[in-house]
């Protein structure tokens, strides 16, 4: 099975609402978008799909004028741009509902909804009087459409006082308040309840009837198929599919999105031992997750997956002590333990490699040596001074062992590629000789070669008796490396799979399905 061939660069059509030609964008050596061309027609719904890190968000930011492309052309109704400014995009009728919502926390609901339309009407000129009556009228109209209240108290409420689902609806209201010709919605349903989602789907179809195009991003394929329209799939920054949604089904789309099943390689080499290493019972934290129980055996590799809002991240953070669990029990090697903070986790032998190594872990401007030994710095003292010789020896040992490509441990971590940075992160935790190693999204933004090296390392560690937990939304990664996979949904473990006899399609469907049929 191969993805259907990418249509050759589209032939220019006069009535195209928006055309992208050969858009490329590179971040720190990584190609986020590679020569992407596409064409959007008026009054249609397009679904932009792809895994995390496939380039969707970058593409959206380029269309919305929040980021310039490195190369390529953006053509809006025949008008060609090398890059769009934010105001130009809005003036060209492109409204964006960002994934982070991009609301002003301190401003009122009415202003958040209608201020940008006023800015647009005045051509970006700020030296204008503001017509509050008009602002309120526009806001009320848009809020009614998304089903929010329109009384004065709500209009005047600062957005920071609202719950997240209401903020999401306010962001959508802003997107449809202006008379846009294209509304981009980046994962607008993640925070919404089923009823609110239904309403959003109605809004989308009425927008389509009014001749407004919608570019919709969602990980929930069920929604995507209910809305219908066209589909554009990105994978590793390249457009791999562009066609009518009716020609595909969920399985095929998932396949095109990941495209990795052709790699039949499995990395899993060892066998779990019988001894239970870590036992988690009824673990819970606020509204994030509850009732989580599982066991990890010595030498076992356990996968945990789920969508962004499933509680998987919060579970990982709880086990690492960053945001501790509020109730439940954790037993390590048979005895009950308390994980109240990261220090507890480290001293118990629970290593945690965080998801975002740039903000949660590495000291980018500091040398590789310091970054590697920071977790065990208290063992590398000479009196009260740091023992640099011992630090260097330890760091050099890891550089060799994990094949970190650097001429010297004196160089800052920022000089390394993503894959090598990740290895420094892993080395730091291996230095603590953990009993359990938790890897959170270990290969996000990491190239294929480094993935391979990391997977082999994981297997080696497991064979040495360590228990490894991989928290990831990269399904092939879990299938190739684990013994068992737990799927989390709405803060609970919805399903447990034994990896050996698991089909990827089944896992994808379980992950993406909205209904509860797959849960029991």
């Amino acid at each position: 099975m191969t993805p259907s061939p990418t249509p050759s660069p589209t032939t220019p059509r006069a009535d195209a609402l928006l055309r992208l030609e050969g858009i490329s964008k590179t971040f720190g050596g990584v190609k986020a978008l590679n020569n992407v061309s596409l064409e959007l027609q008026a009054g249609r719904v397009y679904h932009l799909l792809g895994e995390n890190g496939s380039g969707k968000s970058t593409l959206i930011k380029i269309i919305a004028g929040a980021q310039p492309p490195d190369a390529g052309q953006i053509i809006v109704r025949g008008q060609s741009y090398n890059q769009l400014g934010a105001l130009e995009a809005i003036r060209a009728g492109i409204e964006t509902v960002y994934q982070d919502l991009s609301l002003f926390p301190n401003l009122s609901v009415a202003e958040n909804v209608a201020l940008t339309t006023q800015l647009d009407l005045n051509g970006g000129q700020l030296a204008r009087m503001l017509d509050w009556g008009k602002v309120k009228r526009i806001a009320i109209k848009a809020l009614e459409r998304v089903g929010l209240p329109t009384h004065a108290g709500f209009l005047a409420a600062p957005v920071e006082t609202l719950p997240i689902a209401v903020r999401q609806l306010v962001a959508i209201a802003r997107g449809i308040a202006a008379r846009a010709s294209l509304v981009i919605m980046d994962e607008p349903t993640a925070a919404l309840t089923q009823r609110e989602v239904e309403n959003l789907l109605l809004i989308i179809s009425s927008l389509r009837e009014e001749g407004v195009s919608v570019l919709f991003v969602s990980h929930k394929l069920e929604e995507v198929f209910r809305i219908g329209g066209s589909v554009i799939v990105l994978r590793d920054g390249v457009k791999v599919l562009d066609g009518a949604l009716s020609d595909y089904d969920e399985t095929k789309i998932s396949f095109v999105m990941t495209g990795k099943q052709l790699d039949q390689t499995t990395y899993r080499t060892g066998q779990p031992q019988s001894e239970v290493l870590l036992e988690v019972s009824n673990l819970a934290r606020g509204t994030a997750f509850a009732d989580v129980s599982f066991a990890l055996h010595r030498g076992e590799v356990l996968g945990i997956t789920g969508l962004l809002d499933s509680g998987r991240n919060e579970l990982a953070l709880a086990l690492s002590g960053v945001h501790p669990a509020t109730s439940g029990e954790v037993r390590l090697e048979g005895s009950a333990v308390q994980i109240r903070n990261p220090r507890d986790a480290i001293s118990l032998g629970l290593g945690y490699v965080p998801e975002d190594r740039l903000t949660e872990g590495l000291f980018l401007t500091k040398p590789i040596r310091e970054n590697t030994v920071v977790t065990v710095i208290d063992t590398l003292l000479k009196g009260i001074q740091l023992n640099f010789a011992a630090m260097t020896a330890k760091a050099v040992g890891f550089v060799k062992d994990l094949q970190i490509a650097t001429p010297s441990v004196d160089l800052p971590v920022s000089s390394l590629s993503g894959g090598n940075q990740q290895r420094v992160m892993v080395a730091r935790w291996l230095a603590t000789k953990p009993k359990v190693l938790m890897l959170h999204g270990p290969t996000a933004g990491v190239d294929v070669g480094s993935k391979d090296a990391l997977y082999k390392l994981v297997q080696r560690l497991a064979e040495g008796g360590m228990g490894v937990i991989i928290v990831s939304d990269d399904l092939p990664e879990l299938l190739m490396n684990t013994d068992r996979i737990l799927v989390m949904k709405k803060g609970r473990i919805a399903k447990e799979f034994t990896t050996a006899d698991l089909e990827k399609d089944l896992l994808t469907q379980t992950l993406l399905s909205e209904d509860s049929s797959a849960q029991q």
């Binding site: 919305a64 929040a66 105001l87 800015l119 700020l126 204008r128 503001l130 920071e160």
Partner: protein
Amino acid sequence: MKALWGRVSARPEFITLGLIVLLVLGVSLLEPRFFSPQNLVATIRTTTRLGIFALGVLLVLAAGGIDVSFTAIGVFALYTTTTLTLMFFPTAPFALMLIVSMTLGALMGLLNGFMVWRFAVPSLIVTIGTQYLFTGFLKTFVGTKHIMDIPAAMDSSGTASLLQFSTADGVRVTLPLLFLVLVVTAVLTHLLLTRTLMGRAVFAVGGSSAIAGRLGFSVRTVQLFVFGTAGLIAGLGGMVHGSLNRLANPSDLVGTELDVIAAVVLGGARVSGGSGTVIGALLGVVLVVLINNSLILIGVPSTWQKVVIGGVILVASGVFSKRSGA
């Protein structure tokens, strides 16, 4: 109770007003002279001087910045304008002197705004630097001597009265005409912040400059405008200050910026930006001025005034952070 708290938290000026009322009640019980016309007018005089500066500070805070150079700008504009007037046009009308002073202030403010925007340096650092720069430049190139013999128009404007009367014990009390400058500036600033697109853009940038930029607001324009206008207001404030004191002193004002910033924060503007009202800032100034005045009246040593103001700031910031904390 909850509804009341909701209303108060939406309008933090109420807290400031409440503190003022408490203070007035408490002090007037201890010292009946508190309600004397002299004391009232003295309060208004000080409020006029601090209040004008507070409006500029409010603008910058609302846009998410902080400006500690406004006192240096004020004194630079005052002293330079006075010197130039005496040199070239001793009979210049006061309005012309105000225009020169405000222009000088605006230019210095624009320099602040340009540096903040161009080099993306925190405005606190930029304005600490320019405070030294402006003060040093003034004393090196313009002069260091006090000017007691100020231009005639400046003198007469400073002493001109809006309201004059004699009290029962024969003391003549004068409410200065320049109080109107504060009133007019406050009304204009209020209209600017609440009724113009620029005013709302100031709050938008103060809420998040990254989001404002993404949504098409020109962050550069807003920053240049905010710092330029704050400079202009500082130039105005400097001139009014000099006229009321009938003195142009190059060592004046600098060092008092925290009093003004504290007053604005006491009026409900968050140091983190994106909030604040003109009425709140003015109430904050009144509160600070009243604390100073009344403590003197009831015989508290002046060193204690700082302790009280510090305590009030800490308590108020605790209340305000509870308001914003979610």
